[in-house]
């Protein structure tokens, strides 16, 4: 079946991680420390105050912890497996992507899907533990949970395309290290991982509204904690879907240009 063609490429990241227990241990420790610190920080901030910026203590902690867990869904560091576009360009092995009966775009997407599923397993396990010990609140209703999941999926698609753009940058510039650093900072700041966006001034939120980052995490997490009401979810989902379409078209165009560049330079 065409849809299953080369599905094993999706196993690259999970298998690579399973064969490297120290890396898994590091992830476990990092995730635990991050969750504990973030929960402590927001508990401390709310210790002597009531709801701030329209957010209760429980909502704030739930948002912050879910942001940490959700950021595990897609690791920005893909270098361990030497399978990033950057490394293939550096080692000259990008030629193999163009020597196989599998379009590079499809291979890249399959690899990302595997990473996503692997990251989701970590995030889900972390969520279950946090829910069990009462660090995060459950969604208010099944409808909220459903809308949150759809929004999270769209947000992850947007994040994938943003990261793909950074990868595609390598076809022209050979390196993308600076772009990745900027992306990590922009993504964490503008998607509300560092702090929910409504703590920021109006001009910042207005500017952020024109960028795709808040659609990756801030929107789904705001839906989860009830900051965005279910009645307003449709519009937010539509904006997310719009970003998905725009970024899909841009990255598809760039894949074509990248292929043209490879065949004119010879990899």
């Amino acid at each position: 079946m065409a849809v299953l063609h080369a599905w094993r490429a999706a196993r690259v990241t999970p298998l690579g991680e399973l064969h490297a227990p120290p890396r898994m241990t590091a992830v476990l420790i990092r995730l635990t420390v991050q969750v504990v610190l973030v929960a402590s920080l927001w508990s401390g901030l709310y210790a002597h105050s009531g709801p701030t910026a329209g957010l209760s203590r429980e909502q704030a902690i739930t948002y912050a912890v879910l942001a940490v867990l959700a950021s595990r869904l897609r690791e920005l560091d893909q270098y361990a497996g030497r399978d990033s576009v950057l490394q293939h360009m550096h080692f000259g092995t990008i030629v193999y992507w163009y020597l196989r009966p599998l379009p590079p775009a499809r291979y890249h997407a399959l690899r990302a899907l595997g990473e996503q599923v692997y990251g989701a397993a970590w995030a889900l396990a972390g969520y279950a533990v946090c829910l069990a010990v009462g660090v995060v609140e459950p969604p208010k209703s099944a409808a909220v949970a459903g809308v949150f999941l759809v929004s999270l999926l769209l947000g992850q698609l947007i994040l994938y395309f943003i990261m793909l753009l950074i990868d595609q940058w390598c076809f022209w510039m050979l390196r993308n290290n600076s772009a990745v650093l900027i992306l990590i900072f922009a993504q964490n700041l503008l998607s509300g991982v560092y702090a929910p966006l409504w703590f920021f001034p109006d001009w910042f939120r207005t500017m952020s509204g024109f960028l795709p980052f808040q659609a990756t995490l801030s929107v789904p997490l705001s839906l989860y904690i009830g900051r965005i009401r279910l009645a307003d979810a449709g519009g937010q989902l539509a904006i997310q879907a719009g970003w998905v379409v725009v970024l899909f078209l841009v990255t598809r165009f760039l894949w074509r240009r990248a292929a043209r560049r490879v065949v004119s330079q010879g990899g």
Partner: protein
């Protein structure tokens, strides 16, 4: 023909920016870049028959890798055309990909973090090879390359020799009729090299694969190839069998002489004879390719021209023959 390669008037030109030296030069290059044109491959034509192993030789920068890249479909030629197993590689890359296997020197296509067998499984999936066929082919490759000793090891922990053997297997797992090997044994020890050569011989003789091999290892050429295409400065300078090349550029002899006076000027050597090497008073002569004298004529000419304290005759090895061919082909050519 199923696995044949046809190359007609293939050319590839690169446009590059000339970087001027110094700070001011760098600034000028930024503001007013100077473009230059490099003809990496110019109008080369040759054929490789189905089931033939052809060595594509030439000094560094001669255009070998550029030619291979065009034949694998990674690079589009500026002009001319090529067909690999009936497919124009740069026009129908996906179809071409199913017909070819390729190994580019030490550049591995295996997944660094995974055991080799997982890499093979991913490739099986990508090339849609039936499971039983895949297993049978792996068994066959294992018999010669002894892969099972390390195919459960992660690629990052393999030695170079192990990794290249795995890369060879990976390139052939989907049973391609045509295989491109760009310096596959570079950096490998003699034992592994011999193992790889045996594998390649088996693939050509028993499986009928067409192999286009580039290498700087003349032992490899002697053991594997009957026919050689030599390119230099992007141009084809020779297409023939090893015997023909020997006849034209090297016959089969060398005259080694020890000069009585180490400071004796050895240039110019007698007509028809080329100085191949000099190390102090030790000099080695060979035919220069222009109406080569016989070894006895050469011996006589050397003794008559120089005062020598010792002299010996050797059969020239292929490396010397190729060196003579490169020198004959162009002034900027390097050693093999």
């Amino acid at each position: 023909m199923i696995g044949s390669i046809e190359v007609r008037g293939l050319s590839r030109t690169f446009h590059t920016t000339v970087r001027r030296p110094g700070f001011a030069g760098a600034l000028r290059s930024l503001v007013n870049p100077e473009r230059s044109v490099k003809h990496a491959v110019s109008d080369i034509s040759f054929d490789v028959a189905s089931g033939e192993l052809l060595a594509l030789l030439g000094p560094n920068g001669a255009g070998k890798s550029t030619t291979i890249k065009m034949l694998t479909g990674i690079l589009t030629p500026t002009s001319g055309e090529a067909r690999v197993a009936g497919v124009v590689p740069y026009q129908d890359r996906e179809r071409n990909a199913r017909n070819i296997g390729a190994v580019f020197g030490q550049r591995t296509q295996l997944w660094w973090d995974l055991p080799v067998r997982e890499s093979f499984a991913i490739l099986r999936d990508i090339y849609e090879v039936p499971k039983a066929e895949h297993a049978a082919r792996l068994r066959e490759f294992d018999e010669i390359l002894e892969l099972s000793a390390f195919w459960d090891t992660r690629v990052r922990h393999l030695s170079l020799g192990q990794r290249v053997r795995c890369d060879l297997a990976a390139a052939l797992l989907h049973d391609p009729p045509v295989v491109f090997l760009d310096e596959p044994t570079i950096g490998m020890d003699v034992v592994v090299k011999e193992q790889v050569r045996e594998f390649l011989r088996h693939q050509v003789e028993q499986r009928g694969r067409t192999v286009l091999l580039t290498t700087h290892d003349m032992t490899e050429v002697e053991r594997l190839a009957e026919r050689v295409v030599l390119i230099n400065h992007g141009r084809l300078v020779l297409d023939g069998t090893l015997d023909e090349i020997r006849r034209k550029y090297g016959s089969t002899w060398q005259v080694r002489a020890t000069l009585a006076d180490a400071h004796t000027a050895v240039v110019p050597p007698p007509p028809g004879i080329a100085l191949l090497r000099q190390d102090g008073p030790q000099v080695v002569f060979g035919p220069d390719g222009s109406g080569a004298p016989t070894v006895h004529q050469a011996l006589k000419a050397v003794i008559e021209r120089y005062e020598v304290t010792g002299v010996a005759i050797d059969e020239a090895d292929l490396e010397d023959v190729m060196r003579a061919a490169y020198v004959h082909a162009g002034p900027a050519a390097e050693g093999v």
